[in-house]
Symmetry: C2
Subunit: 117 residues, 2 copies
DNA sequence: TGTAGTGTGTAGTATATAGTATACACTAGA
DNA sequence: TCTAGTGTATACTATATACTACACACTACA
């Protein structure tokens, strides 16, 4: 059920192969939570942590923050803020893109970034 | 502070000019909450209601749901679900569009909708 | 002048969120 | 053999979220 927890555990264990500083205790220590709490999170015994904690964890595990938030069922609050400033526009855009293939969205991102328009 | 509450009160009072069924009590009754709670919401005495309640309220007051959620500091959970399915893609797109003028975003929406690409 | 409807004050509640603190049993290395 | 480090079990907590239930004072109108 908790793909978030599984992902964290697997990612941490993978890093640990190369670097002994990726134990539950040490990661927890670096990101400022109790080891017992991280342990429970990894085993899905409790819900995923808060956005702030997830982002610190993602950084420590060298994983993309937005991807990790998504696994936790969340959307970064700064993205939400962008949407909230122009709700009608962004709601329409996002709903329109909902069923578009990845390549279509990628193309859009490029178009906007390259400013070719 | 509570622009949400003010907005609800003003919208409801405006409708009431034409239709006496837009009293606090009757609106509350239709959307399934206590009148005292709606009263407190309108006066900003409590935080905005849940997403579900806001959407029922928006419908009753004939207002856009996404706009009303935005005033409450929320983003519709169905939009969040779209983002969570492809977090990297959508995060990049939205951050890229953050500082673009409205007309640029509108143009993009049209482009996608008209399928001219 | 009653009564139907109005908004609001007060008090309380259930559930979720986001953790902490401590102690325990186990293992690998010096 | 001891000790430093490992993961985890247990018990608890503070704060936020999202309301309900009831009572009260006031007003319009028939």
């Amino acid at each position: 059920m908790s793909s978030f927890g599984e992902f964290v555990r697997e990612t941490r264990e993978a890093l640990r192969q190369q670097d002994s500083r990726y134990s539950v205790r040490q990661v927890a220590g670096r990101i400022g939570i109790q080891p017992s709490y991280l342990s429970k999170v990894e085993r899905g015994e409790v819900a995923p942590p808060s956005e702030e904690t997830i982002l610190r964890l993602a950084e420590d595990l060298k994983v993309d923050g937005d991807a990790m938030l998504a696994l936790a069922g969340k959307v970064s609050s700064d993205l939400q803020a962008v949407i909230r400033k122009r709700p009608l526009l962004f709601a329409e855009l996002i709903r329109e893109l909902k069923d578009m293939p990845d390549r279509a969205v990628v193309r859009l991102v490029r178009e906007v970034r390259d400013g070719s328009w």
